[in-house]
Amino acid sequence: MALDLARWQFAFTSVNHFLFIPITIGLAFLTALLQTSWHRSGREEYLRLTRFFGTLLVINVAIGVVTGIVQEFEFGMNWGAYSRLVGNIFGAPLAMEGLAAFFLESTFLGLWLFGWDKLPKRVHLLTIWAVAFGSALSAAFIMAANSWMQHPVGYLMVNGKPVLNDIWAVFTNPVFVWGYAKVLLVSLVTGASVMLAISAWQLRHGGVREVFTRSARLALVVLVPAILFTMLVGDELGVIEGQYQPMKIAAAEAQWTTCQPCSFSLFQIGGGNNDQTPTQVLAIPHLLSLLATNHWNGKVVGLSPLQAQYSSQFGPGNYVPNVFIQYWSMRAMAYLGVVVLLISLWGLLLIRRRKLATSRVFLWVAVWGVVLPFLMNTAGWLLTESGRQPWIVQGIMLTKNGISPTVSTTWLWISVLAFVVLYGTLGTVDLLLMLKYSRKELPPPPAEADLETPVPAVQY
């Protein structure tokens, strides 16, 4: 019970945290682009857009930061045995993240937000780029730490304990390199989708057309390559994880027996850990081989032989992750990605035909399409983290051995309830504020006489 609660709490807080993080990373970059456009062209609509989307960025940063502190502390609180065993490796990137990235991001966000009328224009522009860079950098460190759990590298086993002996290996871990690229790309996808949805809503509801057409176009121009590359990088990441975590990939296809070549089923009926013969619907030949190995006739080892292999290697036990979650989260992620791609291509087509601002159907779809990246991201994390089970560190420590031995079930119930209530409340408040500020009218253009005076700073 304690194990389930601890896992549930970590999953709950992480998934919530990652709702806000990609908005922050993506929107920080896009806001920086807008301000750069203003700086270079001097057109006031870019300034108005910068201020407009800057507000939305800040609303999210606040909640991203505070939910981040929870993540930082939870390893010690709930996963004491894990922290004790791998802290000398896993803790290092976390400490570096704080020193190199969090300080940068938070200090410069303050400078950007409150420094409009206190800093020279050029310096002020640099501050938003520092925020964007800091947020992207923080993701690098945490992804390096996370990738080490998926594929531990750069260590020696000393008395049954992994000891870091090559920090460089941790930052060149192929799982990290591809995983990090993917996180940056989906952040752009998420940020651009948010920007597109808000611009679309504004265009539908009488927002200033010339201005919001610009932001919608910027969003689409970023979105199309970002989602395309997300899919390509995601595919490569699947191949790499397949090498180090074959269980994850086999479970994602509910592939119990070894196959070569392997087909990919669009859907299945039944399935799960107790049903090894689900009815596959629309199996596409060779596709799984391609996805999992990059080869037309690649071989995918099935769950049953892997289970036998792990049992003899690590001792008796169940090493198969939750097949149901793997199978469906993989499909949710992939299919939602395709839908996002189609929407963005449609938008691109409308730009070419100069109909972006007037196609009410597209604008409606773009508004509601904003939920897709969030579902896609959550499915992606479920696939990655649930697929690592039963390991907390692949091949080194089992999740059930990682929990804090002295944290009682009562304590866990208290904390789970507290986090659910608090996060529920804050999530709702955040959403309501985002909706309120997304629907606000644009700030009016500054009068001619005002052009000389500095832009007023933001205040709480």
């Binding site: 400490a95 704080g98 300080f103 200090t107 409150f114 420094g115 002996n165 920090i167 904390s415």
Partner: protein
């Protein structure tokens, strides 16, 4: 293995830096609705730390993460042993952090009052809980030979730990009041000075008691250690300076008080990091919780490069925002009401009567009505 003590010092420095900086943020958070008597005043008080508090809070994150990386055993035992207190601390930090951001985003009296309460309570609980935790490290908790905490939630609330918590809260209050004296104008400035004068004697009493008890708890010699002495001298100087209206020096003195109190805990602790009240032999020390030398070396490179850099740009940011904040700034609409500026306080700003004066009268504020 000089890196092990070095990292203990780094962590002590990070905690000390955190409390010097976030200490006045906590103080401002606790005092903002007393110093600011109406919505404009409260906003002015909050905006004295507006651009800074987030960067200050990162010191806490980095302190925690550095414990994780350099002394995983310490991090694991402390954070899991103090579990419920940690949950409470996280809650306080969360409601406080979003209060800054969300308070001004809607123009409704109830909405703002709710976030005012969140900010005040969060800013009170956070230093209290961290103080209790630090006091527990030094005074000892039931810990077994496997470095696991074996006590209950209530074991954390031992007298010394409570004193540490209360002392930190009182220093934060004084530190915040002297900071507000430096950063505000007019009636708010007067009220901040008055509050500092009211709090100062209590802070001094607490710090003296804390310094002596810390000495008794961690040393067998009679002679008081320099840091403990410094804490006493600094807080007495702060009292004097506050009564002399020397704002700048008073703030420096409260900063030194804070620094010497936090540092004296760590000096008293070394080479232990968590004392076991079950059996002194079970105490966690820098050596039995430290990471392997290679990890410490890698992190040393990073901290040596980045900490000076961080100090440089944070100093710059304090320089950029060195001006005082006045209540008047928040009473009129800005030239451009652009997106990121929250709606200006309409009715509540116009009615100086609102809820604050009662509170202030209770505290005997006399200079509050000048404006």
């Amino acid at each position: 293995m000089a890196l092990v003590p070095f990292w203990f010092i780094v962590i002590a420095v990070l905690w000390t830096g955190f409390f010097i900086l976030e200490g006045f943020d906590f103080g401002v958070g606790m005092l903002h609705s007393v110093v600011g008597q109406d919505d404009a005043g409260r906003r002015a008080a909050i905006n004295t730390i507006g651009p800074l508090w987030d960067g200050n809070e990162v010191w806490l994150i980095v302190a925690g993460a550095s414990m994780f990386a350099a002394f995983p055993g310490w991090y694991a035992t402390m954070f899991s042993g103090l579990y419920l207190a940690m949950v409470l601390l996280l809650m306080s930090l969360i409601i406080r952090g979003v209060a800054f951001e969300y308070r001004g985003k809607r123009d409704a009296a109830r909405w703002r009052r709710t976030w005012d309460v969140a900010l005040t309570v969060g800013s009170l609980l956070a230093p209290l809980l961290i103080g209790i935790a630090l006091g527990d490290l030094l005074h000892g908790l039931p810990i077994n030979s496997a470095q696991n905490f074996t006590g209950s939630f209530w074991d954390l609330f031992q007298p010394y730990a409570l004193l540490t918590g209360v002392t930190l809260v009182l220093i934060c209050l004084l530190h915040g009041a002297t900071f507000l004296s430096l950063k505000t104008t007019g009636s708010m400035h007067e009220r901040s000075r008055l509050l500092a004068r009211r709090v100062a004697p209590f802070t001094a009493a607490a710090v003296v008691a804390f310094a002596i008890w810390t000495h008794v708890a961690s040393s067998s010699t009679f002679f008081i250690r320099p840091l403990e002495l410094l804490a006493i001298l600094a807080v007495l100087a702060a009292v004097w300076l506050v009564y002399e209206n020397r704002d700048g020096f008073a703030f420096t003195a409260t900063a030194v008080t804070m620094a010497s109190c936090i540092a004296s805990i760590f000096v008293g602790l070394y080479p232990n990091v968590m004392v076991s009240s079950t059996n002194p032999a079970y105490s966690l020390t820098v050596h039995n919780t430290a990471s392997a030398p290679y990890s410490l070396k890698a992190m040393t490179v990073v901290v040596v490069i980045f900490l000076p850099l961080v100090l440089a740009y944070q100093t710059w940011s304090y320089y950029v925002f060195r001006r005082r904040v006045s209540r008047e700034q928040f009473m009129t609409a800005p030239a451009v009401p652009p997106g990121p500026v929250p709606a200006q306080g309409g009715p509540s700003a116009a009615a100086p009567g609102a809820p604050a004066p009662e509170l202030a009268r209770k505290k005997g504020v006399r200079h509050g009505r000048k404006l």
